[in-house]
Amino acid sequence: MTTVRNKQLSSTPNAGLATATQAPGRPLVTTVNTKRLLLTALGWVVAGTIFFPIFWMVLTGFKTEAAAIADPSLIFSPTLDSYIEVQQRADYFKFAMNSVVVAFGSTLLALLIAIPSAYSMAFLPTKRTKGTLLWMLSTKMLPPVGVLVPIYLLFRDFGLLDTRTGLTIVYTLMNLPIVVWMLYTFFKDLPKDILEAGRMDGASTFQEVIFLLMPLTLPGIASTGLLSVILSWNEAFWSLNLTSSQAAPLTAYIASFSSPEGLFWAKLSAASTMAIAPILVFGWLTQKQMVRGLTFGAVK
């Protein structure tokens, strides 16, 4: 976030300078103002258009079912009926709870497994480190649909179908490469001397990680965790195929609205708004750091 602001500050005088040198004869202020106005309008129209479906969904959640399917209108008397009704259907909480447990459970597990691994890659690199990192990235390239059949059959045989445990395992493994990569890039930025100093004072590896590394890279670990939560929360392929009723998360709950007799737009919108709101906020908070994780450090 800070880099954006710095950029903004530094490019302002430049832009003014450029226009000044470029068009010495023209009335400077008006050209700049019209250009700026057009740019502002364009920027807002484009952003508004892209965001519109989300805006519309949030709005529809506050309408009555009748108003929801009437002609599109911004003027209506807002009601919380749909929210209340969705909340009252006890199953909503079950699905939401499944989402929370699975997303946060798999994230914690992934962090637990990934932190030691990323630590050793960043601070005790060997010849094999690079190869291991790339190999981890390559496991992410295995399309889930290519292994759907065996995972489904294994889950059936081990009694993991439609269980939170099963889904948590899949999400942990699905996100593990990204989590290791992201942590690795954050850990690598930490000056080696700090950990060195701790080692001189006789800290064990465990103490080094818990008392030095983790507090120092907490923002990085947090954004890695948030990305993992986002990816697990929104994951739809495995949740639709491996769960049915007991362990189904919100993705599957929302999908159940797709049946033709389930045309309850206001309720669908209310449920959807609640399902995406926390993740949208997480996403807004971590967008900068997310790029690292999503591109495996190839774009900085």
């Binding site: 954006v4 903004q8 530094s10 302002t12 430049n14 832009a15 450029a18 470029q22 700026r36 740019l39 920027g43 484009v46 952003a47 892209i50 965001f51 479906p53 989300i54 519309w56 030691p116 005790l124 060997t126 291991t132 990192l133 790339l134 990235l137 390559s138 992410k140 390239m141 295995l142 399309p143 649909v145 290519g146 292994v147 759907l148 059949v149 065996p150 489904y152 493994l173 593990l176 490469p177 929104n234 739809a236 392929f237 639709l240 993705t251 929302i254 999908a255 609205f257 797709s258 045309l263 737009w265 959807s272 995406i276 996403g283 900068k288 999503l294 495996f296 190839a298 774009v299 900085k300």
Partner: protein, 296 residues
């Protein structure tokens, strides 16, 4: 000094091993076991509905699949979907990145709004588009069309694949924007300034400075999107279920139909192998590019 370093390395080697073991072992299992099973099943006669019919099938499943017109139709749909979404998101994402790199009041908020769709779960975005945007009588698009005197379109029956492309592109355009905007931050302001001093217009600056600078980020976007787009599933699952007919069935959906609806494990696995091969062709390039980055 030398001695400590040498002993440190051996201790380090052992520590590295024990610290990395959990992650590496789990990922190895996660990759090799299902991969091996998929390969094995693809060579077996294995249908859950016909428990009596088992045994080695050789390449029968592949033969059956490769002569099935549904496979070619679904491959075609997969390529069309991937291709169009890539074109829309990369071209659109680049233009949007240039736009949101400019300064205007409220730029921060506008950026946040524009990248938001990426954080919406696929089932929600598919249903919002299907019901509230593209519904033939009550959707916003139908209302827009009617208010300018055009007939409303029944998107999912007249343009099924296009509709899916629109939904998926809407989800991935913000991803391209996010990555390209980040890449844009490292663009050298002085270089742009120098070009401007030399009389280069905005178009020239875009083609000769911005675009070359974004080349690498664009290829990363293309490769990462390809990996995900090759197996688009939820958007099809909740909107068209692959129909009408096979109009929106992609490879991922076909495998799902064969495996979980027809219970034909053998054929579905053969399809899985084909999907893995396709993804790996893309992956090789991506891994190579990231590897280059690791060295620098």
């Amino acid at each position: 000094m030398n001695k400590t370093r040498a002993s440190g390395r051996t201790v380090g080697g052992f520590r590295t091993l024990s610290l990395q073991a959990p992650a590496v072992t789990l990922l190895l299992l996660w990759m090799l076991v299902p991969l091996g099973m998929t390969l094995w099943f693809s060579l077996q006669r294995y249908n859950l509905l016909m428990p009596g019919m088992t045994g080695f099938a050789g390449l029968e499943n592949y033969e059956y699949l490769l002569t099935d017109p549904a496979l070619w139709k679904s491959m075609g749909n997969t390529l069309l979907l991937v291709g169009w979404v890539l074109v829309i998101t990369v071209v659109g994402g680049t233009l949007l990145a240039v736009l949101f790199q400019q300064e205007f009041p409220g730029r921060g908020v506008a950026r946040v709004l524009a990248i938001s769709p990426f954080f919406v779960m696929p089932t929600v975005s598919a249903l919002v588009w299907k019901n509230m945007m593209m519904h033939p009588s009550n959707g916003v698009l139908a209302w827009l069309a009617e208010s300018i005197g055009l007939p409303a379109l029944d998107w999912f029956s007249s343009l099924p694949l296009t509709s899916i492309v629109i939904i998926v592109a809407w989800q991935w355009l913000p991803f391209a924007l996010l990555i390209l905007l980040t890449a844009m931050q490292s663009l050298d302001d002085d270089q742009v300034e120098a070009a401007r001093m030399d009389g280069a217009g905005p178009v020239a600056i875009f083609f000769f400075i911005t675009l070359p600078h974004l080349k690498r980020a664009i290829s990363v976007v293309i490769m990462i999107e390809m990996i995900f787009l090759l197996t688009v599933f939820a958007e099809i699952f909740v909107t068209t279920s692959g129909g009408p007919g096979l109009a929106t069935t992609n490879l991922a959906y076909l495998i799902y139909i064969r495996a979980l609806l027809d219970f034909d494990v053998g054929t579905a696995s053969a399809g899985g192998v084909i999907a893995i091969i396709l993804a790996n062709i893309v992956a090789i390039f991506l891994v190579r590019m990231v590897a280059k980055n690791l060295e620098s």
